[in-house]
């Protein structure tokens, strides 16, 4: 190692620190711009919808049935349909989803079947919603002969949100520390008693939050319901589980696909109502999480 060689490496070593730092700052700025694009689009979208639709919003709009005349058209049947779908999906999907999550997280042996269920779940969560529509059309509408009914729609959407509820509930269960389970078992409780009395209550905030978000997803879905053949023009409210129905997103879609601008205004007003409902749900989820989490501390 000669002195000359060291001198060469010394000359070759250029930290260029200020340049590299400046590049870094530039990149940080770029990432801020990327985040801003998402946020600004959201704002523009909401502003656009409100700008287009606020004039059509009125009490009459909420309580009238759809009509051929845009100035009289309302969302009564759609609102009622969305409400029924919400209740039914909640009743069907919540118990099944939580049960499946408890099995997979607390009881399932580590074997091939469990591994298959896991892969299957992650695939199902990403299957396009319209494929669930085809499933509902083939199974519920045709095979079970439920027709284009409220029940067929609710069952289809339940299958659609089930993976979401299962995945969220499992995460909530996983977050409960093992010491809670060990304490329960040490007190002489059986495995199931431990889960029901100690683990489940602790995981409940997470499970409820996940369920509410899944239900929000269900009321925003359009494609699967169109596929099973939910009607786009319904001037009545369903009286039983086997009646035809419509929901808010389908009514909105129907108005968007008409050429008259007056109907587009109705669509925008419908979107405002839909977004308001979803906002309510998200708010509820956040509130529940904060409220229930405070009570349970480990």
């Amino acid at each position: 190692m000669s002195a000359e060689r060291i001198a060469t490496t010394d000359r070759e070593f250029e930290p260029r620190l200020s340049l590299r730092k400046r590049l870094g700052m530039l990149f940080g700025l770029l990432s801020a711009v990327a985040i801003a694009i998402g946020l600004v689009t959201l704002e523009v979208l909401i502003a656009d919808v409100i700008h287009d639709g606020w004039r059509a919003l009125s009490w009459d709009f909420l309580t009238s049935y759809p009509s051929r005349r845009p100035e009289q058209a309302g969302i009564r049947s759609a609102l009622v349909g969305t409400f029924y779908i919400l209740i039914l999906v909640g009743l069907i999907a919540f118990p099944l989803g939580v049960a499946a999550a408890i099995y997979l997280e607390e009881f399932a042996p580590k074997n091939r079947l469990t591994a298959t269920i896991e892969i299957n779940l992650s695939n199902l969560a990403a299957v396009p919603s319209i494929v669930y529509g085809l499933l509902g059309l083939g199974v519920f509408v045709r095979t079970f002969m439920l027709g284009r009914s409220l029940l067929a729609g609710a069952l289809t959407l339940s299958l659609l949100v089930l993976p979401i509820i299962i995945i969220a509930s499992r995460e909530a269960l996983r977050a409960v520390p093992p010491s809670i389970r060990e304490a329960g078992l040490a007190l002489g409780a059986s495995h199931w008693q431990t889960v029901r009395l100690f683990v489940l209550p602790a995981a409940l905030p997470g499970i409820l939050t996940g369920t509410i978000l899944a239900l929000a997803r269900a009321i925003g879905e359009t494609a699967p319901l169109i596929t099973i053949g939910a009607l786009t023009y319904v001037a009545f409210t369903p009286k039983s589980l086997f009646d035809p129905f419509t929901v808010l997103p389908i009514q909105i879609f129907n108005w968007i696909s008409r050429p008259q601008p007056a109907f587009h205004e109705r669509a925008a007003a419908g979107i405002i109502v839909l977004l308001a409902v979803l906002l309510l749900f998200n708010g509820l989820a956040i509130f529940l999480r904060a409220r229930l989490q405070r009570r349970i501390r480990f």
Partner: protein, 324 residues
Amino acid sequence: MTSESTPAQLATSIDRREWVERVLTGTQRIDRIRRVRERTILTFLFLAALISIATTIGIIYTLGIETVRFFQRVSIVDFLTDTQWTPLFTEKHFGIWPLLTATILVSVIAMLIALPIGLLSAIGLAEYAPDRVARVVKPVLEILAGVPTVVYGYFALLFVTPLLQRFIPQLEVFNALSAGLVMGIMIVPLVASLSEDAMRAVPQSLREGAYALGATKLEVVWRVVVPSSLSGIVAAFILAVSRAVGETMIVAIAMGQVPRLTLNPLVAMETMTAYIVQVSLGDTPHGTLEYQTIFAVGTTLFVITMALNLLSYRFLKRFREVYE
């Protein structure tokens, strides 16, 4: 009965041995009831978990049976080689390519938006933004993912297209460009949140090691964090593609229903999902060829998305194994 019991107590009570026995059998009976009840509950839980398998079997069966019927009437070679898709016309052609091309084109446009913006947002949130900023921005970004797709359809058709028409006069009312752009924005939160999770899982010690060697923040991000979390990021990208391929309402509203084979994003086209919607809106009787076409198209869609989902799952699994 304890050892402290006086002989008198023992004398007045039943024989100690018998007493112990009764306690034991009694408990056993309660135990047995409890065990039976818990086994019933466990069976119910297990069945609930099996529903997911049943759903997949149901999808494959429903799609499969109608697709088989479809291919009994239409040759599979025509389906894969014909360049026209006109099942609703008198002169029928059943080539999937126009629908497939439209699906791929709009997905590519969406990915060109979603991947860079999503990845940059993830880097910004995971590495640059202070924690309290990230805590506020993240939920707001998630709202983007929660907006119903029919709303995005409205936005694409009635806001983005008229806006773009000011700069591109030859842009048709229905086109792949607006649909793709809006779909890209819709997918940003998916890419961002999954990539961010992957980056946050990279151990802090790796970053500190790089800093100790004199790396700047940018170099830490690009040479350490991103490569270390690459399989997680790739998994997010693949899942995003799957999401774009299966997206329905945006394309059904804003991209039109003209099945034609072109790569021009300025004109109306029809994706696979939009075709299913188009047929579903009409009153198509069960058993007709039109009815069967939507299942054949649905099968194509399901196979593509499932392949992507499983691929993504493998990447994610590999990534998780490294750091857990």
